[in-house]
Symmetry: C2
Subunit: 368 residues, 2 copies
């Protein structure tokens, strides 16, 4: 890959016969959107049109096409980069985005994780083991109820207590009230545990709403936030990460049904656009990813191309507290385990505290 | 549909046997994300959990599930509404979003088209016929070259001359220079034609970049803009439409591969979030939509539920100038025909002008 090129890998489902023409059409669709014969300017032909790096078989009726597009086509802009990578081609049902690599200068321009795994681990003050996380839910709890649940989870020793991604600035649980209640709860719990859990509020809304929530959260003492990049727009994640000054957990809401391989969307694009940790549906839960996909996501997050910092994999979605050790055998210590519903099924607060402590101890017991 | 409910229609691919349980799980996944047995608060059970409106067959192995979610779950917020409609369920491969209806108060809160079809038609000063549009491309033209192309298209009498969606603030064609050149070009062409074409610049970038571009464009005299809502984020479209004061054309870039039916995404969500006109791939072109899908998109745009204004369908993507009359037989006069590449294949400027005039005359000749 030349330093001035974006390398993009697609899977194509098309007959062998028309393959070369299909690859050429895809290459051109993403930038000039015209056939080569209609390109009348030398600059366009020489500096805008990319090149085919390789084209070969990739299993039953599928082909892997790797193209290199000039980095300048991205205008070094987060939204325009997506346009070049998978803008119009997302409308063509025979194409799937498989992977991408951007040159270091472009990666720096988009931004990448500002804190990464190491920053999150430092926040938790935990070494040599996986981190633990749980969720405040269901939607419909009042701010006071959210705070009490947060206190119980924090008292059990869970490292990160995050809002469910569906908690917004609802009339029945206003954002500011919830953040105040949950921060107070982690402080109160720390008197017992000697260690303060990190409360992670969910920011959701239009950009101006989210920026207001972010400023308020920071002022109140929040140390990390969560957003759903596919709801808010990946370019806005890049803008938020550039100014926020706090680690960002990214949630996959509204992002699953794209014809983009999960390892490319969650493992490459989310951290490139600024996520420090990425929540993804673990295999075997109520979502659709298999073990190989989950491993590929974790691997992509942990080993980004320079100059990006490693980001933290956060398997979630139907993990049961009892299975924590089993999940850790897959991911090892360089992960955050997010267990929500399985803990919240407890019949009352005492049972919840017990289940959460069991989860925390199971994670600590696994030497990594 | 109760006035306080969002009605959402999904297609489910699952065996008849587990259908009722699958529907219940989907209903709960979108708000409380917990099984009913774990809901311990009367308010949550009574005011947050939605209801199943209907569940019935929808063709080979498929079922149509219609649910009603309390409007309050959306927090009247553009991003949170998407969360409730298709957040986590987008991660489940057996679900497709088919349609949605929001109550009037929520539609007003999100915003809808501010100008709609009527506003765009008034801009063009054209009645009783379809509107015409073409595109400035390929990426790589200088601002001066873009201006000259714009002048030719405008001299031919084309109503709307838009940037290609891939034209960003590139070093080789800066946004401000391009906008100035194209506006000057439409003014110059108007001296010949007696009618000024509407130049539509493409706004692309993070929210702050796009807001800067929008303000600059307005200051320079731009009368309509284009954005790609799935690149920028639908919630940002809502925010932009609320303050822009100009009609917005929406481009489908990065939006095709969602597991959302095109009529729901382009026909319902784009206008709800503020698009006045929606560009979509016409059937028979180089994209994938069939005639029924295209008709459903056009119908949804033209006949929104109150209080939304009708928005303008803009079929595009491989329409040839020669086929304009044929395409108009499908869409009638209440549409804007966007023809790009087929015009730009002309060998030189004189040929381009001739082709464009042919296109304009073909559209005017069709009495609607």
């Amino acid at each position: 890959m030349s330093d001035g090129e974006i390398e993009i890998s697609y899977r194509l489902r098309c007959p062998e016969a028309g393959l070369a023409a299909r690859a050429e059409a895809l290459l051109l669709e993403q930038t000039v959107e015209l056939p080569r014969s209609a390109l009348r300017t030398a600059f366009v032909r020489g500096h805008i049109v990319g090149r085919i790096v390789s084209l070969g078989p990739a299993g039953e009726g599928e082909h892997r096409l790797v193209v290199a597009q000039p980095a300048a086509t991205s205008a070094m802009d987060p939204a325009q980069l997506l346009n070049v990578v998978f803008g119009n081609s997302s409308l063509q049902p025979d194409v799937e985005l498989e992977d991408l690599r951007v040159p270091p200068a472009l990666a720096r321009a988009i931004g990448g994780p500002r804190f990464g795994s190491a920053g999150l681990r430092a926040l938790a003050g935990a070494e040599g083991r996986a981190l633990t996380a749980s969720a405040i839910k269901p939607m419909g709890l009042s701010a006071g109820e959210a705070g009490r649940l947060c206190r119980t989870l924090a008292r059990a020793g869970i490292d990160f207590v995050k809002d469910d991604h569906g908690l917004a600035d609802h009339a029945f649980c206003p954002f500011e009230d919830r953040v105040r209640a949950c921060l107070a709860a982690t402080l109160e719990a720390a008197e017992t545990t000697g260690r303060r859990a990190v409360y992670v509020p969910n920011l959701v809304g239009t950009p101006s709403t989210v920026l207001r929530q972010a400023a308020l959260a920071r002022d109140l003492g929040v140390r990390a936030v969560m957003v759903s990049p596919m709801l808010l727009g990946l370019p806005f994640l890049a803008e938020l990460a550039a100014t926020l000054g706090l680690p960002i957990l990214a949630h996959p809401s509204f992002g699953g049904a794209q014809r983009i391989q999960p390892a490319a969307l969650l493992g490459r694009l989310f951290p490139l656009y600024g996520a420090d940790a990425v929540i993804f549906p673990n295999s075997g839960g109520r979502f659709s990813y298999g073990p190989a996909v989950c491993s590929a996501i974790a691997e992509a997050l942990r080993r980004p191309a320079a100059p990006l910092l490693p980001a933290l994999p956060v398997p979630a979605g139907g993990i049961r507290a009892e299975n924590a050790a089993e999940v850790l055998r897959v991911y090892g210590a360089d992960a955050m385990l997010l267990v929500g519903g399985s803990l919240l099924e407890a019949a009352d607060e005492a049972a919840l505290l017990g289940r959460c402590r069991g989860f925390v101890e199971a994670v600590r017991a696994v030497a990594c």
